[in-house]
């Protein structure tokens, strides 16, 4: 069993082939559906596959292209959407037995815009129930396996989206990121994961939107730029990979801050430290100036974000706890109850921390364009979920603070562990700096590999 050649392309390459007539949307969607059918019983990337709907959409988009109407680079491209993002007319389960039959009548604007741009949603991807629990066998669908080493689970919560893209089942996927839930799986599966700036239309229409943002996972930075631009209604960044870095405003010298003391003091696994050191060398080779800084409240910012996740997850699922608790998984029950122990002052303190920490970070960064860290402290999903550590978010020590501030962050493939599982570099920047982050990721890849290969079935 091999990955079909047509699915090994990047999204950008597939878009070019499709527009040029070398392949049709129906060809791509059929290949995607066949590949899912062939391998997903072992990977568990999908909760729902919409073969009929996807093929109908592809046929319609092929007809539009034949009539001369091209919607843009997503025209006819098969993608997937995390199953905690409502999709109008398509079952959305949260991977929960409590929502096994829910077909929403609405969806967030990010999804509608992707459809309008011509993306074909082939299915809904797996997650740990509601995205706030430890995956367990009483979820609706079993936990996804990491395609780079299937002995291990894929880290979440956008685990199914990561597996679907890394395995070549689709060219890109939407995830959500409330504490690192898109950047962490992207980092762990060799993908680019972009968490955009938080804004009025960045969420899914739930209380968790206060920290969580609809995010993209792709095999290249250019592909992430295409999906980001479509879902946020922005102009796509130019697809030319720069060979020299420039700053957000085309400054010739790019400075990135590195929170050296926090990186030294946190319990980071050796493979992650080695990959981060290597990524610092690559950035220096690219002409980036690295500035060691101290971010004294990074840990408190992570804690504040987890207080908010606990409070908001509880608030968003109170009815589930009261009316459908018997249908929820054991881990989910524990995580969703946690927020009930918090008081109003705890919630307000955590929110205030977001405001003060963003201002502090802005001062610390001075003229730095962003801040570079490892994506995660650990390599495997199993290590991330050690009892007593997962619910406090220790593996999300570098990602969660930027959910609290609402700043954009990107996971960039930057190495591989001894287990064969990829490791990611994170760069976060001030609000609205997604084009800079994408350009940086694309330039970085010119020194590593322009496109992540597809994991073997």
């Amino acid at each position: 069993m091999t990955v079909p050649e047509v699915l090994r392309q990047s999204l950008s390459e597939a878009a070019e082939a499709l527009r040029g007539g070398a392949v049709s949307s129906t060809d791509l969607v059929r290949a995607s559906l066949d590949h899912i059918a062939a391998i997903d019983d072992r990977r568990h990337a999908f909760v729902t596959v919409d073969a009929e709907g996807a093929l109908a959409a592809a046929a319609d988009l092929d007809a539009q292209l034949r009539a001369g109407h091209w919607r843009g680079p997503l025209h006819g491209i098969p993608i997937a959407v995390k199953d905690n993002i409502p999709t109008a007319g398509l079952r959305t389960t949260y991977n929960s037995r409590a929502y096994a039959d829910w077909v929403p009548g609405r969806e967030p604007p990010t999804v509608t815009r992707l459809r309008r741009a011509g993306a074909v949603i082939v299915g809904k991807t797996n997650l740990n129930e509601f995205g706030w629990s430890v995956p367990s066998d009483d979820d609706l669908v079993a936990p996804p396996r990491n395609p780079w080493n299937p002995e291990y689970q894929a880290v979440g919560s956008s685990s199914g989206s990561g597996v679907a893209v890394a395995s070549g089942m689709v060219f890109g996927a939407l995830g959500t990121d409330g504490g690192g839930s898109a950047r962490l799986p992207a980092g762990q599966m060799g993908l680019v994961g972009l968490k955009p700036t938080r804004g009025p239309e960045s969420g899914v229409g739930a209380p968790i939107d206060e920290v969580s943002v609809v995010s993209v996972l792709t095999r290249t930075a250019a592909d992430a730029g295409i999906m980001y631009a479509a879902m946020m209604d922005r102009t796509p960044p130019p697809p030319d990979a720069a060979t020299a870095m420039t700053g957000p405003n085309a400054e010739p010298v790019v400075r990135l801050a590195v929170p050296r003391r926090q990186i030294d003091e946190l319990p980071i696994e050796p493979d992650v430290r080695a990959a981060f050191a290597e990524s610092m060398s690559i950035l220096k080779d690219l002409g980036v100036v690295l500035m060691d800084v101290d971010v004294p409240h990074l840990g408190a910012a992570r804690d504040a974000n987890f207080v908010l996740i606990s409070a908001l997850s509880h608030a968003g699922h109170r009815d589930d706890l009261r009316e459908r608790a018997h249908l929820l998984g054991a881990s989910t029950l524990r995580y969703l109850h946690l927020g009930a122990a918090l008081g109003a002052a705890d919630y307000l303190n955590a929110r205030e921390m977001g405001t003060l920490f963003a201002a502090e970070l802005d001062r610390i960064l001075v003229d730095c364009a962003g801040i570079a860290t490892p994506v995660s402290t650990v390599v495997t999903a199993e290590a991330a979920r050690r009892p007593g550590e997962h619910s406090r978010g220790l593996n999300a020590s570098f990602t969660a603070p930027f959910n609290l501030t609402g700043w954009p962050g990107i996971a960039i493939p930057s190495g591989t562990s001894g287990l064969g599982i990829p490791i990611g570099l994170q760069v976060a920047a001030r609000p609205g700096q997604e084009p800079f982050l994408l350009r940086l990721a694309e330039t970085y890849a010119t020194r590593t590999r322009p496109s992540t290969p597809v994991a073997a079935p």
Binding site: D303, A304, R322, R334, A340, A341, L342, A345, M353
Partner: protein
């Protein structure tokens, strides 16, 4: 910071949530960790605002 299972049962009941003492017992560690995080945030806020 520790949380007692019976206290959790009573607190959750005030919020309209019925849980068993056994379930509350399983939650004590996680609740304690969460409240410790909330306390860390409160301390950090005081420091950031120059109150200590």
């Amino acid at each position: 910071m520790t949380a007692d299972a019976n206290e959790i049962v009573r607190l959750f009941a005030l919020r309209g949530l019925t849980v068993s003492a056994e379930f509350a017992g399983e939650l004590t560690g996680q609740v304690g960790a969460l409240l410790a995080q909330a306390a860390t945030v409160e301390d950090a806020l005081r420091e950031m605002k120059g109150e200590r």
